[in-house]
């Protein structure tokens, strides 16, 4: 895998803006009926002019700053000319650096591990086209292509990396980190459908560059790349030439399919957009942007490790989702037990919600106050860890507080050695063969502990149980 070069082109919508990039229609187009979030400007009516949304420049500059990119003194917009049905003016207003660095960011970098940095070639602000839909679901068996302009003109930031990735796994790390950065900046809600999209280009040593387009979620990118690399590898082992082309990711079939060859590629005839004067940013702008950029994932990670003494692994998982990290810190405000709470979130909560869906965190029934209370109960040894897990599952399911659950069912821990000793005696008399095993095989002790725990409905303090079993086994051995 040493000869692979991968570069990315990521598009993210500036979802927290109120209006589109060049008009006053809503940036959040998702709740509208088709073609009801439109105006003469975003439909490219004759005589209309783009009116630059200053807030969009600010948000794009925040992204640029967070990716360590240089923000120039003046920015310019260009026209990218091509005919496509979703593009009402048949050109897109975007930025372009071939005739001087005038996009909102260039020459940035993002660390994805201690030893690996990905260079950012440019960050640019541009408009999203409309959306095409087909009367019977897909292009192949529909008579008509329908156009919905609700999305047309939505502010989009394009982030282009250098081809610095050498394996798909790195791409995943990078995209996770980028999502977290965007969430921390509060400029893009990556959970919204279509809010982030990614194109990738892959080349094997000696082969030409293949572009993969149409990857509509970050999660699919790694799969598309893995597929594409194995496809290219098998071609090159058979000495079949890899030609430069654009391929589409087919999400259903999990394969890439050819879209167009290099020869068919367009000449976009870029030139400066005459309707938008140069935007002079100035010194005040830079200081303003620096103030707007909050604590970012890297800083937050080192703070989590130093202040809360979390392991690198645990801290990373928390930081990868701003919502999870925020949840964690909200818990700490109520009850301060960082390592305990972090472990609950990273191990138990993520297992229950299924790993990658941390973005839905604000829709959960479990709240920081629940988590804090539970951690406190465990710390104070009022409940056993295994009961705590049961309670945790119940809180997650119902949203009841741990103390409510505790009073309705008896989960309180049994610390009374006499009571536990009775249970141990009962288990020893009913599990004779296991006891014999345990005499010679210390691994079998766990089985006996489990039986005692089961008998006490998990309420016995497992430390005392183990201790008493060991004592009893020793007595039996000596007799």
């Amino acid at each position: 895998m040493g000869n692979i070069l991968i570069g990315l082109e990521i598009h993210c919508q500036l979802t927290s803006l109120k209006s589109k990039l060049f008009c006053f229609c809503h940036e959040d187009y998702r709740s509208f009926k088709p073609n009801s979030n439109i105006c003469p400007i975003c439909c490219g009516f004759p005589g209309t002019l783009p009116l630059l949304n200053q807030k969009a420049v600010e948000h794009a500059a925040m992204i640029s700053n967070a990716l360590g990119s240089k923000i120039p003194e003046k920015i310019m917009f260009y026209r990218k000319n091509y005919f496509y049905p979703d593009l009402p003016k048949n050109f897109q207003i975007t930025q372009y650096n071939s005739y001087g660095l005038t996009s909102i960011g260039s020459a940035g970098s993002v660390c994805i591990s201690d030893s690996k940095t990905i260079r950012i070639r440019r960050v640019q602000l541009e408009e999203d086209p409309g959306r095409l839909s087909y009367d019977s679901g897909n292009i192949h068996n529909s008579n008509h292509t329908l156009i919905d302009y609700n999305r047309s003109g939505v502010a989009l930031v394009e982030i282009v990396t250098e081809p610095d990735f050498t394996e798909p796994k790195e791409v995943r790390y990078f995209l996770n980190k980028l999502s977290s950065i965007l969430e921390h900046l509060g400029v893009c809600d990556t959970a919204l459908e279509g809010a982030v999209r990614c194109d990738a280009n892959v080349s094997l040593k000696g082969g030409e560059r293949i572009e993969i387009k149409n990857v509509n979620s970050f999660r699919e990118v790694e799969k598309a790349l893995t597929y594409e690399i194995s496809r290219q590898t098998s071609l090159s082992t058979r000495n079949i030439r890899i030609n430069s082309e654009t391929r589409h990711w087919d999400e259903q079939r999990k394969i890439t399919r050819i879209a167009r060859t290099k020869e068919e590629e367009q000449d976009y005839r870029y030139f400066p957009e005459p309707d938008i004067p140069l935007v002079m940013l100035g010194k005040d702008f830079y200081t303003h942007i620096e103030k707007l950029v909050p604590e970012l994932p890297d800083e937050r990670l080192s703070r989590f490790k130093s202040k809360y003494t979390l392991s690198d692994h645990v801290a990373n998982i928390l930081i990868n989702s701003k919502k999870l990290a925020d949840f964690f810190e909200s818990c700490l405000k109520i009850y301060y037990s960082p390592v305990e709470i972090a472990n609950w979130l990273v191990n138990d909560l993520l297992a229950l919600i299924g790993g990658e869906e941390t973005v839905i965190l604000d829709k959960l029934k479990i709240e920081p106050k629940h988590m804090a209370e539970l951690a406190k109960l465990v710390d104070e040894k009022k409940i056993s860890r295994s009961n705590a897990k049961q309670i945790f599952t119940e809180v997650f399911r119902t949203g009841q507080t741990p103390s409510e659950l505790l009073s309705s069912t008896d989960y309180s821990q049994i610390n009374d050695e006499n009571l536990i000793a009775n249970a141990v005696d009962l288990v020893f008399s009913s599990e004779k063969s296991a006891v014999e095993d345990a005499k010679v095989n210390s691994g079998a002790i766990n089985f006996l502990v489990g039986k005692v725990m089961k008998m006490t409905k998990g309420r016995a303090d497992p430390k005392i149980v183990t201790q008493l079993i060991n004592v009893k086994l020793a007595q039996l051995g000596n007799s």
């Binding site: 009516f45 004759p46 009116l51 630059l52 000319n81 049905p85 009402p88 030139f271 005459p274 309707d275």
Partner: protein, 484 residues
């Protein structure tokens, strides 16, 4: 003057305001005039008769109730048909927009309406403003009121001819490379191209965004001032409109004007029609009589003006006109049975020949490998030219020359020679490339054909143009309107 349609904007406004006649009477007079001469002149694409009469009645109601009816109350205005009018067809004289009814008013139209002006109709032009004769209109050529066999100039030929033939008091044109001043010159009326950024372009259907401005065509300098005061100034709908007006009114007619220094540009007067240069020189003598200093200067970059202009204009046009794909608006051509690319090429074959030529050349100069060779060079020449012009405005108040190097010519005479047509714009494109204001003012006639004098000033120095044009207007009595 015996007819209401003879009145200029200010005269008509005063008459209506003072109750000498009603706005409705005045508009009827204009409509009758149009019905009488329009068959010969063909200045209009669309008439707005019923709405205009209703608007006039509204104005009359306001006057009766002593409400403020505005500084242009009742005045009839014709609008070039590439300027958007809410609910009124705006065709750009193109098949592509033959059924297009804008859902909004251009800022200039809205402002004129707010000042009480009445839109009487939409005026003919070369398709999308591309031409200097109005012969490239989908709806047929406009005829010069001074000689109906002759072109009225272009591209705002309808705007020039309608004002000259008294079919409306005032009109709006748009000037990308001379399109207001050329017809003003050919029709013996006054036309102003304002400083780039002083009049909103919102609603003007773009031909070449970085060059064009909307400007008034009127029979008197005074009317130009009135229209400019109504339409100019900052507009939140146009990021390139940045004239913040601290003085209202922005422009005015002065009773006494202190002498200024003027420079005649050698390159603009050399090689023009002898009848034209004779007229220009005798007009200059008038300025000298008033104690104005006049010098002859040479502007080297004038030689590069046309290639620079046409490269930039066509490049921008090729992109601006890409949107006409007949999907959201346009003309009737059902989509059934077409695949996207075939439909688009079918639709776009309906552009006129001159428009196609400019789209093709414009696409060529922007394509990769040619950008630096043509488009970038053109922009560099443009900034050289601008610098040279601006440096001269440090020394002289005004630059002067003919508006057009030739007299109006016969319809059809030059239509087969596009290059000859382009060369006629040599005097006017300078102001567009430099973004400076320029005015064309009638200076004389030769064999019954009008000749215009052009004055250029530094950015936002429209007042200097008004002063000089006003002086010349008082010094030489040139007829603005012929009998038809």
């Amino acid at each position: 003057m015996s007819n209401l349609y003879d009145l200029g904007a200010l005269e008509a406004h005063r008459g209506i305001n003072q109750g000498d006649f009603t706005a409705e009477e005045y508009v009827w007079s204009i409509i009758e005039r149009i019905e009488r001469v329009e068959g010969k002149v063909h200045a209009f694409i669309t008439l707005n008769k019923e709405n205009a009469l209703n608007d006039a009645r509204e104005i009359d109601k306001k006057i009766r109730t002593k409400e403020d009816a505005g500084s242009l109350a009742g005045v009839t205005v014709g609008i070039k048909d590439n300027i958007s009018t809410h609910g009124l067809k705006t065709t750009c004289a193109s098949k592509m927009l033959e059924n297009y009814v804008p859902p909004y008013d251009a800022t200039v139209v809205e402002r004129l309406k707010n000042h009480g002006a009445i839109v009487i109709g939409k005026l003919n032009l070369d398709e999308f403003g591309m031409g200097s004769t109005t012969e490239y209109s989908r709806y047929g050529p406009t005829h010069n009121p001074w000689n109906l066999d002759y072109v009225p100039g272009g591209s705002s030929g309808g705007s020039g001819a309608a004002v000259s033939s008294r079919e409306c008091a005032i009109s709006l044109g748009s000037d990308t490379g001379g399109s207001v001043r050329c017809p003003a010159s050919f029709c013996s009326v006054v036309g102003l191209k304002p400083t780039y950024g002083s009049v909103s372009r919102f609603g003007l259907i773009s031909y070449a965004n970085s060059l064009e401005q909307i400007g008034p065509i009127c029979r008197t300098v005074e009317d130009v001032v009135t229209v400019m005061n109504a339409i100019s100034g900052h507009d939140p709908n146009d990021n390139t409109c940045f004239l913040l007006r601290s003085n209202v009114p922005y422009l005015h007619i002065k009773k006494d004007t202190a002498p200024s220094s003027i420079a005649i540009v050698k390159e603009l007067i050399d090689g023009c029609d002898p009848a034209v240069s004779r007229t220009i020189y005798s007009a200059l003598d008038k300025f000298k009589e008033f104690g104005w200093e006049s010098t002859e200067i040479s502007l080297k970059s004038v030689n590069y003006a046309l290639p620079s202009y046409y490269t930039i204009a066509m490049a921008e046009a090729s992109s601006n006109l890409a949107r006409y794909d007949n999907i959201r608006y346009g003309f009737s051509l059902p989509v059934e049975g077409f695949e996207w690319n075939t439909y688009i090429s079918n639709v776009r074959s309906n552009f006129g020949e001159e428009v196609k030529r400019r789209i093709l050349i414009g696409s060529y100069v922007l394509s990769s490998g040619y950008y630096s060779k043509y488009y970038l060079k053109a922009r560099q020449l443009r900034s050289l030219l601008r610098q040279e012009l601006l440096s001269n405005f440090g020394k002289y108040d005004l630059l002067v020359g003919p508006t057009m190097p030739v007299l109006p010519f016969r319809i059809g005479e030059k239509i087969d020679d596009p290059l000859k047509m382009y060369l006629m714009d040599v005097d006017t494109v300078l102001a567009n490339l430099a973004g400076i204001p320029a005015i064309s003012i009638p200076a004389g006639h030769s064999n019954g054909l009008p000749i215009g004098l052009q004055l250029m000033a530094g950015p936002f120095q429209e007042q200097k143009l008004i002063d000089a044009a006003s002086l010349l207007e008082n010094a030489i009595d040139i007829a603005r309107s012929p009998e038809i």
